[in-house]
Symmetry: C2
Subunit: 332 residues, 2 copies
């Protein structure tokens, strides 16, 4: 059987990396990854455990090298395109909001226009974010209105609105995914789970915005990748699908406490309480019944087990990790 | 009494021109206009009838000269900023959607960030569009969800979402206006009312998309300018206000027939039926009860009277007008 070809845009992102790992694990896919950056250090690239002849990487920047991408697509004729590329950090988006709009809305619009030329593409899967809904008390379904609180969220909402115009008018076979916060082995080190594990190991204090009362939903990256694969194969064009964990969200302080307990550090010794972030959405629980019913999808990795795996990963790669930058660096 | 200072961004736009004309007519305002283009030919600039010492023009491009604008604002310390600048055409936005997002979302985001520095600004009025709502059968109120159908509309929605993040987090004293289609003396010649009058006078056929069945609301520009002035002075920050005519909308073919009758040309001789435009929203009637109640505002210029005035304007300036381009020219 001939392998299906999948083009993964944003192959250096944590979600992109795990999605590639899942595709290669299935053995039925030929994967092409692109990113504006060089490939990350190997300890991030969980997909490196597979044989390399089913994966190729190309350094292409969506903001500047769209012609190169057009040539690659024309040449490779992928069956599916899955786009993880975005500027994703919330805090820095207040300093350079225009960069977030340029990447998350303008470049996405150019990409959408380009993709309409390639009728061999069976599905374009776009990774959006529930932050486009802003603060919500109740469980959010896919038809909730857009009400973003930060330039990051507004720029993602802008890209989403743009994509829908290409679905409506050019039948771009687009599905959109909005997932709650992910975590797992391979994640960027400034993200909460690996960061807390790393800080505890280093004996550094963790700055805790607003006391960590904000409730978030965390789901293991492999559960998300499985959901995205179902959406890629069987999602209905023009539809948005939420992916979220079972049960309610968890307060950030409680998540940190789980990690502290596993690493045998006292919570009070581990954190520094600092001020609330601008535009911090208070509650954040999304409803994923639609994807659960459509694809018989459900999360399978318990939080305790997933967190332990991240701690193992930090322990295994501690020397290389401690040489990496631990803060988010904005580059465009 | 010291005059209040108003900075009008997009002073070469039809709506900007009429708003400046209204401000100068009131006699209580010092007006600073900026546009990326040089001032238009005089027959467009209805405000030229006023003495020039209450108006100054600066050629500044929001996309490229933000520093210049920052200096101007710091120097002039306007009480109010009203922003008409946008790429507004729908059809061409499919060819270069990224340009629409760059101007209508990225530049607006940079502007919003800049304005938060100037606490002497009492109000920032942003001119949005009801096209952000997409196709709607019913009367649309200000809380309707965003559902744009074209890159133009999506780019305006993107700018609007971005502005709200600055209202929510930095208390930018922002009001947003969404008005139905305007017409009047001074309007761009490719817009329906002056264009039809000009084509009839030239004996040229009018291309009529989808037979002109699309229903739109037309309101005289002076009614809109009066509403915008009320919003500038008394609008509540963070609020959106609709401005729309009394009664239901009018089909484009019926509007053309009114002009034909006034100019004594047979409708069937005047038009060529052509295909529907991409992303053409079918119906388009917005509810303006909120502004009517808040400001005791209502439209006062009857359609027949306003249309006659445009025809007079075309007759008065026919020689100069026929030397102008009649099609929209995209430039960025």
């Amino acid at each position: 059987m001939e392998k299906k070809k999948v083009l993964v845009i944003g192959s250096n992102s944590f979600s992109g990396i795990d999605f590639i790992d899942l595709l290669l694990e299935k053995g039925e896919y030929q994967v092409i990854g692109i990113s504006r950056s060089k490939e990350k250090p190997d300890f991030f690239l969980t997909y490196k455990r597979h044989q390399c002849n089913n994966y190729s990487f190309h350094q292409i920047d969506l903001n500047n090298d769209l012609d190169q991408l057009a040539n690659l697509i024309a040449d490779q004729r992928p069956d599916y395109v899955v786009n993880f590329a975005a500027l994703v950090e919330v805090g820095p988006s207040w300093d350079n909001p225009e960069d977030w709009f340029t990447t998350n809305a303008v470049a996405v619009t150019k990409l959408a226009k380009l993709l309409t030329q390639f009728t061999f593409i069976k599905k374009y899967v776009h990774i959006s974010t529930p932050e486009v809904y802003g603060s919500c008390e109740d469980k959010i379904t896919e038809d909730a209105p857009l009400n973003p609180s930060t330039p990051y969220a507004a720029s993602k909402a802008a890209g989403d609105l743009s994509l829908f115009t290409f679905f409506k008018n050019y039948n771009l076979p687009m599905c959109m995914v909005r997932s709650t916060n992910v975590y797992g082995r391979g994640q960027s080190l400034f993200k909460i789970v690996p960061r807390v594990a790393l800080y505890l190991k280093m004996g550094k204090k963790i700055p805790l915005h607003g006391g960590g009362k904000a409730v978030k939903s965390y789901i293991h990256i492999r559960d998300i990748s499985e959901g995205q694969l179902s959406i890629m194969l069987d999602g209905k064009p023009g539809e948005i699908y939420h992916l979220s964990p079972n049960g309610a969200g968890i307060a950030i302080c409680d998540l940190i406490e789980i990690i502290c307990n596993k690493m045998k550090v006292k919570f009070d010794d581990a954190v520094d309480i600092v001020g609330e972030r601008l535009g911090q959405d208070k509650a954040y629980v999304i409803d994923s019944s639609k994807a659960r019913e459509a694809f018989d999808w459900q999360p399978r990795v318990p939080l305790e087990q997933g967190v332990s795996d991240v701690i193992d990963w930090v322990n295994e790669n501690y020397n290389e990790m401690s040489e990496q930058p631990l803060e988010y660096n904005h580059k465009l």
